[in-house]
């Protein structure tokens, strides 16, 4: 690893920022020193290690300025759509309209981490009976109840059906607080019956045509609601343009993922990669700016790969990560434990797939929505995880449980069994709380042990290969 690329602390970022400014750094309107976000309440930044590039500075500022940008947009008369749970489909539709911005209130699930005690969202959720046996997304309920975070959108949509119970139940409580929600059904994606007409989805999974038809009907209903709200037509031409723009973002991310996850050494830390991938779902509320942010990040990664420098030692053990983490600090532990990230499934894989542009737009969006691995079986999800893990040479896999999430209780063991059977790599299941400080020694120990296991397996494999070569050589020599 190049020392100059080692992730840096916030204090180091204060100096780094001054250096960049002295060197002529040009910033967007939302730019500035990261320290100001801490002053604004995002105290977790003081515990994180962040990539020290100008591109990562822009990424962080883009992420951390989202609330302020949403408030500014709302004040300027922009219509806000709060899209819940679907992670990547409805924003494509909403952003196809003029003067409309979509965002995920679900993103409040990081408030307990990023703001720690500076946010009362969790306390408010507690008072409403949604305690810490629920997923950290309960902060969303607190955010709606107390205000003081994102502006309340004028239209709320929420996908339900094959979705996690806790989110659905919390969203229902949001509605009870007086925020009407347009609920739309995302059915469980089952395998087609023998002889049943089936559709190939983006990503390679299959679904019955009848299920796609249901989702198509539901998305049409959402489309009409968006039209009513925005006072504009959302015809196929506009939707097609929206899909094309979304695909621009997805292509950037595809290239970023290819370079970051496959290059040696790893050119970008796991923390920045998770944030970058999250941009896919709603463009961090700015569909135009996100392209600039991701292009800068991609250019930085290209520079590093051409110079063969990175943030982890060459040959570091390769780990595949499953599920987003409630505490961003956990992503630092990947490199700190000796690993480099070689792939991830942050529960938004369908937001990374290209949306077909050769189909009627609503049909294309219905297929993308159904391609979400989370709406099908754990076996389907495991198959996709294994495919990417194998492609990227994963030597270990970590399943990061989300505390209180209804799917994690059983899904973890289902995934672990499938992956172990298919890939023959060690699998570890950990749980990452919203603030992991008290658990950090335990988590670090487990990850370090996993990295050591990988290295031991490598040595054993190399020794076995050497022995085999030595066994064969006398015969070759004699020939």
């Amino acid at each position: 690893m190049s020392d100059s690329l080692r992730p840096i602390t916030l204090a180091q970022w204060d100096r780094r920022y001054r250096e960049l400014r002295s060197a002529g750094l040009c910033e967007p309107k939302y730019g500035g020193p990261l320290r100001r976000h801490v002053d604004g309440g995002d105290v977790r930044l003081t515990q994180l290690r962040m990539d020290g590039s100008a591109a990562s500075l822009r990424l962080w500022n883009f992420l951390l300025s989202e609330e302020a940008r949403l408030h500014e947009a709302a004040s300027g008369g922009v219509k806000l759509v709060g899209t819940m749970k679907d992670l990547g489909t409805i924003p494509v539709m909403a952003f196809a309209l003029d003067n409309v911005v979509a965002f995920y209130p679900d993103g409040a699930w990081w408030l307990p981490c990023v703001m720690q005690r500076n946010s009362d969202a969790m306390a408010l959720a507690d008072r409403l009976g949604i305690d810490d046996s629920f997923c950290p997304v309960r902060a969303m309920l607190g955010a709606f109840a107390g205000g003081g975070h994102f502006p309340i959108p004028g239209l709320l949509t929420c996908s339900v059906g094959a979705t996690c119970d806790d989110f659905s139940a919390i969203a229902q409580r949001v509605e009870h607080l007086g925020h009407p929600i347009l609920w739309w059904e995302i059915p469980h994606r089952r395998s087609p019956e023998p002889g049943e007409r089936a559709v190939l989805l983006p990503g390679g999974l299959r679904a019955p045509a009848s299920t796609v038809a249901i989702v198509r009907e539901e998305l049409d209903r959402v489309r009409r609601a968006l039209e009513d709200y925005a006072g504009q037509s959302l015809d196929d031409a506009r939707l097609a343009e929206g899909i094309r723009r979304a695909n621009d973002v997805r292509r950037l991310l595809a290239e970023l993922r290819r370079l970051v996850y496959r290059s040696e050494p790893c050119p970008l830390p796991a923390l920045e990669m998770q944030i970058a991938e999250m941009m896919a779902i709603h463009f961090c509320s700015d569909r135009t700016e996100v392209v600039v942010v991701l292009e800068e990040l991609l250019n930085e990664v290209r520079r590093r790969t051409s110079r063969r420098v990175g943030v982890a030692p060459r040959g570091a053990p390769r780990v595949y990560w499953v599920n987003p983490v409630a505490d961003l600090r956990a992503m630092n532990l990947i490199e700190e434990s000796g690993f480099r990230l070689c792939g991830a499934d942050y529960m938004l894989c369908h937001a990374l797939e290209l949306i077909p542009e050769d189909l009627p737009p609503i049909e294309a969006l219905a297929r993308i929505a159904l391609s979400d691995p989370m709406v099908g079986s754990a076996a389907d999800r495991a198959a996709l995880v294994c495919r990417e893990a194998r492609q990227n040479g994963a030597e270990a896999l970590v399943i990061s449980r989300i505390p209180g999430a209804s799917h994690c209780g059983m899904e973890g063991s289902l995934l672990a069994d499938e992956v172990s059977g298919r890939l023959d790599i060690p699998v570890v299941e950990i749980e990452v709380p919203p603030v992991l400080d008290a658990m950090e020694p335990t988590l670090r120990t487990r990850l370090e042990a996993l990295a050591e296991t990988v290295m031991a397996r490598r040595r054993a494999s190399q020794d076995a290969s050497a022995e085999e070569a030595a066994r064969v050589r006398p015969f070759e020599d004699s020939n």
């Binding site: 009976g129 609920w183 249901i214 209903r221 754990a378 799917h407 899904e411």
Partner: protein, 359 residues
Amino acid sequence: MISGPACHAAAYWHPLVPPEWIAASGLRPRWIRLRSEGRPAAAGLRRGVCPFAAGMLEADIGDAAALILTTTCDQMRYAAGMVASRRPGGLFLFNIPHTWQTAASRSLYRQELERLGAFLKSCGGREPTPGALAEQMRRYDAARADARRRCEMLSAVDAAALLAAVRGDLTATRAYAEDASARNPAGRQTLCETPSLGPSADGLLGPNEPSESGLRLAIVGGPLLADDPLLSAVELRGGRVVLDASEGGVRTLPVPLDPARLAADPLNALVDAYFDGFPDPFRRPNERFYEWLGEAIVARRVQAILLHRYLWCDTWHAESDRLRQWSPVPVLELESVDINGAFDGRKVGRLDAFLEMLR
């Protein structure tokens, strides 16, 4: 798949699976009621796993040729994945929509019924004809009407058993086994026409009126175990469960059939009865649950509510605070952390204190 005579059972646990559809397909409906094992279910103690869903993984379905699980909660959806890995054949995951007010969701429910029918046929059943379906629907409708009347006169434990019986194989309960349409033109059986009683649920069809005294309580929540001590514990302490709004109680019985709709299109009538207006908090939106409960509280003169839920059941847990805020009567929340059936000291103490407060 099992072949041979169409006399096999299909086991199911969720009230939105119509037993009459199973019966019309030529299989015997078997309503699953978990029983306590007298020991903690190991998976039920796993962090984040609902003990009831974990219990379903270990459920003994006997010789049933088919097991029907549903997508009404995420825990069960993933439990189905675990069952599928252990029991590849004979499992049907019924895709039940969470939305209910749209044509799409209703259509999905009907499609799933048809798919279930095809599955049951592959398990040794037959394709239900409209006539066979209508007959089974009349039979079950009459049995439910009779059970509703009788429940008001039975202890909570006996009422729960009777309601379980009318969700299962009616041929196993002599009183309900005969062709309802042969009894009277309205197709309804009445107590005075009941033949001599047989075993099991038949024993509940005789007069056994509980005392009219005692606090009038409602039990609301998820599924109770077949041998759940809660019901008897309430009655031993002078309470009287006048409304069983648990998952196996009257709340989840389908609405009475519309005879005209039944004659015209039995399958649509089945969808009407089951799907439209099913009052449960898992539905989105779930206002129908509160509407139903509000009416039932008035009709049954309920004085207090016992909310029973399982640890890690987000659906009921999330509603507990709202229920308390909404309810016109006091609410006590009782959480079950496993399914070993223990009515532990904590629950006993809380129940005693609650009942004492109410007197």
